[in-house]
Amino acid sequence: MKKLILIVGILFFAVSSQAQMTAETIVKKAFDYWRGEASVSTITMTIHRPDWERSMTIKAWTRGESDSLFVITNPAKDRGNSTLKAGKGMWIYNPKVNRVIKLPPSMMSQSWQGSDFSNNDLAKSDSLIKDYVHTLEDTKIVQDKKVYSIKSIPKPDAPVIWGMIKLKIREDNILLSEVFFDEDLEAVKIMTAWDIRMAGGKLFPLKWKMEKSDAKDEYTRFVYEKIDFKKSLNKNIFTRTHLKNPDI
């Protein structure tokens, strides 16, 4: 009898650590799938408020897990404003004053270009895989595909903003939704992705929405107009010199 309990116990631990392993891999794979090795895309960002709406077109380059460059191409008034994220640093450039400014830590929680994304959401994009412990909560079948529900809790002492993140990831590595919780585990922001189609050589959700959970009529929507996944991109793209003169 004792032996049986021991065996069951060992099995149980084996299974649970297996589950944790998978959760971690699922997230890692989804993240890598989302970012690709490198990508070049054109996005229309729409900021919606109850009494007001504004759209802009952004050209974006990403490379690996942490380098990104965003350049506004439309409206004409804001054309050429750009944001560079390389490693842990973040810089913005404005053509009118012709200056590159490094974002100070105190500004990281401010919104990016007035959207529902904060500078932190951009700067700490890779924090999800580095700073959180993931557990698989649930697996469901939706439209013939498995959808994993994953709960991510920050590692102790990790420099994170969120108290908890809940992810929904489809078995083919597509991130369907991400819910951000504050330290009191209240939902703060919800990001959802839909309109999954073949784009740039793989299945990819072309529409994304970030909304605050307490104000339903306030959201920021991303629509990928064009996306190309590449094997690699030149390192020079993600430099401050290039920030001033992107090829748009």
Binding site: D51, P75, N81, V97, R99, M107, Q113
Partner: protein
């Protein structure tokens, strides 16, 4: 003058030393109360006026919700209409318009997030003390559009001086990117660290252009004729909002709503002050009670003789009560006079408390404090002392009723 009152007055001077001691205890307590209360109220008024003068004004007109969220889009659409209306309201000393935008400011080496405020240089000088706070360089001229005033701590953080350039980068009212290069024209020191660290001021016209504001502004900042007029003016404006086009979207927060911290600080301080006064008054009450009681024990024989020759106990009680009231009144009057004189002296000279500059700075108080004598501060404390001494003299006086003439006369 009734015979009792005459006797009471003579009686209290039969033992001048005891009387003087009692009177001086009462006078001292009253004096302390007058001075402390004046000092406290004076500090509060200084605090309020300094804070109000630095940025908020007594009252503001803003779009509803702006106070809470400070959203760029919540504006006063037509400031000219508001100005026309404000000109008709009585009790307003002066007013000005401002617009605020959160923005990044960077020098060659550093970047910080700050509030950029667009001010009307001419009108602003009457409403706030900013013009006199410029310690280096000069104040803005009316047509300066790309000149800026910057707080001393911020200039230190950014490592910039006058005539250096600053880049500001924020978001305009229409969501577009607001960017500009400003030249530092003056550096101000308000003494309030938060203000000196987080604020840049520039001309309203330049601000409206950079931040795509059109003609709109965020705040109409109003100074009333005096602090006491604030609620009246607020009422008046509120009642007449509908006269302004779009007035139903406007709100009039007063300084208490704009700076709730200041009011809470004052209330907290007042409570701790009151606790101290209560302790002081209780100590005084006990010492007076003791003096009265001793006096009656000493005079038991005298009361016995009076009763024996036919004075009723109630008449003696009345006599003793008159005595205590006489002493209290003399004491209180003395206290008020001396207290007022001391207060008036410091009201002119100010009190410097060494080593408290930093704490005071946080509340925006200059390093010299000025008590302020008013009818309330001069009478409230002494009045409490009067009531308390009266109550504490009733008990000893009632003891007289229990005296038996023969036993009392045998008392030494």
């Amino acid at each position: 003058m009734s015979i009792e009152l005459k006797m009471a007055w003579r009686n209290i001077w039969r033992n001048p030393r005891r009387t003087l001691l009692t009177i001086s205890a009462i006078a001292f307590a009253s004096m302390i109360l007058v001075f402390m209360l004046s000092f406290q109220l004076g500090c509060y008024e200084t605090m309020i006026n300094t804070s109000v003068k630095i940025s908020t004004g007594h009252l503001q007109i803003q779009a509803k919700g702006y106070l809470k969220d400070k959203k760029m889009r919540l504006v006063i659409k037509d400031p000219e209409q508001v100005a026309k209306f404000l000109d008709t309201v009585e009790g307003i000393d002066t007013y000005t318009f401002r617009a605020n935008g959160f923005s990044l400011v960077s020098s060659d080496t550093r970047t910080y997030g700050v509030v950029v405020t667009g001010i009307d240089p001419l009108k602003e000088a009457h409403v706030s003390s900013i013009k006199s706070l410029v310690r280096k360089g000069s104040y803005l001229k009316e047509d300066d559009e790309t000149a800026a005033l910057i707080g001393e701590l911020l200039s230190h953080n950014l490592k910039v001086d006058i005539n250096d350039e600053l880049t500001i980068l924020g978001q305009g009212k229409d969501g577009s990117i607001a960017a500009a290069v400003l030249t530092i024209k003056g550096i101000f020191t308000s003494g309030i660290d938060e203000f000196d660290r987080n604020v840049i001021m520039m001309g309203l016209k330049g601000f409206q252009e950079i931040f795509s504001m059109g003609k709109s502004v965020h705040e109409a900042v109003i100074t009333a004729d005096s602090l006491g007029d604030v609620s009246m003016v607020k009422q008046e404006i509120q009642n007449n909002f509908l006269k302004i086009k779009g007035g139903e979207y406007l709100a009039v927060p007063d300084w208490m709503e704009i700076m709730p911290g200041l009011l809470q600080g004052i209330q907290m301080d007042l409570v701790s002050g009151i606790i101290m006064y209560i302790i002081l008054v209780i100590v005084v009450a006990f010492s007076i009670f003791n003096t009265f009681l001793m006096a009656i024990f000493e005079r038991t024989r005298e009361f016995g003789v009076m009763m024996a020759i036919g004075t009723t106990p109630s008449r003696i009680t009345k006599l003793v009560m008159f005595e205590s009231i006489c002493m209290t009144i003399v004491g209180i009057l003395l206290g008020i006079i001396i207290g007022s004189l001391v207060t008036l002296y410091f009201q002119n000279k100010g009190i410097y408390i060494a080593g408290t500059e930093d704490i005071l700075k946080q509340y925006g108080i200059p390093d010299r404090l000025y008590p302020r004598l008013s009818l309330i501060s001069a009478t409230a404390g002494p009045l409490v002392v009067f009531v308390i001494t009266f109550v504490s003299s009733v008990f000893p006086a009632l003891k007289i009723r229990k005296l038996k003439p023969v036993e009392a006369m045998n008392n030494i």
